[in-house]
Amino acid sequence: MDFGTFLVQCLNSVQYGLLLFLVASGLTLIFGIMGVINLAHGSFYMLGAYMAFALSPLFGDQFIVMLVAGVVLAALFGYVLEWAFFSYLYQRDHLQQVLMTYGLILVFEELRSILIGNDVHGVKAPPWLEGSFALGDLMSYPWYRLFASAACVVLAIALYYVVNRTRLGMMIRAGASNRDMVRGLGIDIRRLYRIVFAAGVALAALAGMIAAPMSSVYPGMGASVLIICFVVVVIGGIGSITGALVASLLVGFVDTFGKVFFAELSGMGVYVLMAIVLIWRPEGLMGRKV
């Protein structure tokens, strides 16, 4: 493998990993703080992608504006969904949460089917991000993918800032390590949960929107991203955002380079990685030992 190809694959790995991180961070936050396992999290990613498909004609070139609009819509949706449905899941055991969110997936899938249909759609990148730039003599790299990575980096930094430097973030971190104590401190736990949930939905939807021009928009995308996210969370450790970042990048590299070297069984690479982590550190790379 020459250096150019290697560089391109590295960039792809990072880009894929960062996108996964957006989705996985929401998942791990929601579980870490509210203790809810949400099978429907992948549906939010799908929601974002389909939103991109629906909104793209309306916004034309204004890609960033569309992203912002999408995020706002998704956050609102998440806020309402938490109030109407998820807040009832906190007291239930994991089995019930699994089944109820499974039911929710079916509902979302069918609603999407009714409202938009089951076709595969493409979303075009905005004109100012079309095309590629040269990477060395022989290779080129698409501008859009670079943009996707950059956007994710910006979001990751923003997430880091919010979680580590703001009061909201402090409450989130406290809630992640000790839910009961946070309640005892008199913090309006319900609003905190609602905000966290809305943020999780928004992150996943944003990831879906950013991914749309690269991976196209298709019905099964929610399920595939969900399971990979589960793998990321297991590898990184539940409740740890740093863990999710490290794990997402690891998964990004294993998956991308796996496809290059082991075409047929490339899908398995991630699971083998998970198996290794389970043998070595079952609580996740940055998880707390239970």
Binding site: I37, V98, G103, E109, I114, E264, L265, G284, V290
Partner: protein, 316 residues
């Protein structure tokens, strides 16, 4: 009351045995389908209901059993005496690997890990030449054993019935035994079990492997019945549905698994029949999803839970 309830499953089995020949081909097929699903559900009941291990990847063992049956048949078909152990053994082998790794985790991690490993198996059959890809593989000749030919509908019926009765009886025996008592203890309080001297990991792994093997049995039967297998058998939707079945029927009871399999199959049929729900039948996923949410929210103890609410001295 207790004594009578012990005999009900036996009576049902006998009733089915007697009624078998009288059923129309459509009904017979439906009953066989439900019986196979019951075995699948019972195998999960061992894990979830008896041991408290919520697995979201049980379809993997079901599918592996089915694929092993077809792959082991080759062009000339095969003997039940070879294919059945092969199916159960393959499923058990994968369960041993998955279990050994997954049981190092607990709670939500365990749920996610089992799902992931099932998905891995799905990919193996979906993406590689081994499984014939997304179209699946056909079985040229059904398994036989002497005079028994799984091609014959009557033989199928009684074989599956026997398998169901055998599985039910086996699990009832486990439940009553010291092994079963240990699993129950692990479900309620793992810490106490460890402190008392039980090798908890070993017990859980044993339960996981046995459950996998029994799911493989169901897989053998479904392959023998349909004559074709495809990767969808290992899809996570399948894992979700079988989990639903045991909750629907009532967790913690063997009868619950069977009742749940019957009820879920009927529910799906109902929701996709135009005659009953009109235009909603085209969107049965929606109604099914809502039904699941409502059911789990309102009736966490399942159908058996309803029964015990009506008659307080209902059998446990």
């Amino acid at each position: 009351m207790q004594r009578i309830s012990h005999f009900i499953p036996l009576l049902c089995a006998l009733a089915l045995a007697v009624l078998g020949p009288m059923l129309s081909p459509y009904m017979s097929d439906l009953v066989v389908k439900v019986m196979i699903l019951s075995i699948f559900a019972l195998s999960l009941e061992l894990l979830v209901g008896m041991t408290g291990l919520v697995s979201l990847g049980h379809a993997a063992f079901y599918g592996i059993g089915a694929y092993a049956t077809v792959l082991g048949s080759g062009k000339d078909g095969g003997s039940i005496a070879v294919l059945l152990p092969l199916a159960m053994g393959s499923a058990a082998a994968y369960a041993l690997v998955v279990g050994a790794l997954s049981l190092r985790t607990r709670g939500v991690y365990f749920i996610m890990v089992t799902l992931a490993f099932a998905q891995m198996a799905f990919f193996v059959f979906h993406d590689t030449a081994l499984g014939g890809g997304s179209d699946g593989i056909y079985m040229y000749i059904r398994p036989v054993l002497g005079a028994l030919d799984m091609e014959n509908r009557r033989v199928q019926f009684y074989f599956v019935l026997a398998a169901l009765a055998g599985t039910y009886g086996f699990l009832a025996l486990i439940r009553r035994s010291r092994f079963g008592a240990a699993l129950a203890g692990i479900r309620v309080n793992e810490q106490r079990m460890r402190a008392a001297g039980f090798p908890v990991y070993g017990y859980k792994l044993a339960a996981f492997v046995i459950a996998g093997a029994l799911a493989g049995l169901a897989g053998f039967l479904v392959a023998s019945r349909d004559g074709v297998v495809n990767p969808e058998l290992l899809a996570w939707h399948n894992s979700g549905e079988v989990l639903l079945m045991i909750i629907l029927g009532g967790l913690g009871h063997l009868r619950g698994a069977v009742i749940g399999a019957v009820a879920f199959t009927l529910l799906k049929e109902l929701l996709s029949t135009h005659a009953i729900v009109g235009p909603l039948a085209d969107h049965w996923q929606l109604t099914l999803g809502l039904a699941i949410i409502a059911f789990v929210a309102l009736l966490p103890k399942g159908i058996i839970g309803i029964a015990s609410r009506i008659s307080p001295k209902g059998a446990a």
